[in-house]
Symmetry: C2
Subunit: 203 residues, 2 copies
């Protein structure tokens, strides 16, 4: 099951309100070649989706409360400028964070997926951060922090991928496919960070 | 031994000709926190340096001739606009690529290291690509391709890290430290890609 069983606030995957990605499907295909994408990767991502399905709440809690909350430089992105927690923002973006894990594993990487990558980037830049939830918080999450935190995400997902008793080989394949997808996604997100610059882009 | 035993063409680590990084040591420290850097990481990177020292030629050959050469979109960056190979460019940048592996493992991450990260970024963007070697080639390597290829680098380094008979646990720690460093480095490189845009930067 790809889709959420309940309504997730602000989750708009596939909606007509989502902008068209400035990246073409052809460019996505080229990027998949660079990342070393193989036919095995969607298979092992789907397996990861089965494995992670009932663990997403625990995983996001691990990332946010176990790690991000202890790093003020990161924690501030879900707080007010005065440093107050915004419980509804944390809850809603947490549910979207959970769904993103499953989308990473289960969605076909088609035009809707590509468009939603732009939307994810918009929600981390001044293009759209805070707007979906109507909150006052930091205007954007710096690109460097997103890139750096990917390492933590990739490392900490490992025990969750191994939690259902799959062989070490299968866990490694799930993990590699996961890492490829995350690097593919972050590469796509960087385009918006560069485009906000109205530049001769070297993306 | 950190330094190269022989002169590497265009390798200018620590030289007075290298520009000062726009990133402060304080920002680097914050980024290390985000990436989950621990006191173990430099230790395991140094161990990786010992392990990789006599394998760098083989590794770079694996990356460039084994992988990049078969992906036209990547191979073009060491070719002329007409698609011809530039042997001296390939040779010189290959030696620097080898040295970069050792610098990643052995250099202290100090101001010189930070400055050389800027220099590496300059040599991949229109700021300085081709200039050191005086060649005609693509004006820049797109950021997306650098980010995407990091996955391949991280995956293919594994057997080389394991090649000297260290325990699986030690190999995993070397690999994690390596992945943290590469993500840290690529995060730093993205700043120049965004700065070429003369923007209100969200780096």
């Amino acid at each position: 099951m790809i889709h959420a069983t309940k309504e997730i606030p602000g989750y708009a995957y596939g909606s007509k309100d989502i902008q068209l990605s400035p990246v073409s499907m052809q460019e996505l295909e080229e990027l998949k070649v660079t990342v070393g994408w193989t036919d095995d990767d969607p298979i092992y991502l789907r397996l990861a989706g089965e494995v992670l399905e009932d663990q997403t709440k625990q995983i996001v809690d691990h990332w946010r409360n176990g790690i991000i909350a202890s790093i003020p430089d990161l924690a501030r992105h879900s707080q007010t400028p005065e440093g107050d927690r915004i419980p509804a923002y944390v809850a809603n973006s947490g549910e979207r964070f959970e769904q993103w894990i499953l989308d990473t594993c289960r969605r076909p990487y088609d035009q809707d997926w590509l468009n939603y990558q732009l939307e994810i980037a918009r929600r981390h830049t001044s293009a759209s951060k805070n707007k979906v939830d109507g909150v006052r918080s930091t205007p954007y999450v710096p690109l460097r922090d997103i890139l750096a935190f990917i390492v933590v995400i990739n490392e900490t997902i490992k025990p969750y991928l191994a939690a259902k008793g799959h062989s070490a080989e299968d866990v490694a394949k799930m993990h590699l496919a996961w890492c490829k997808s995350l690097q593919l996604q972050t590469a796509l997100w960087t385009k918006l960070y560069m485009d906000t610059a109205h530049t001769p882009s070297e993306w």
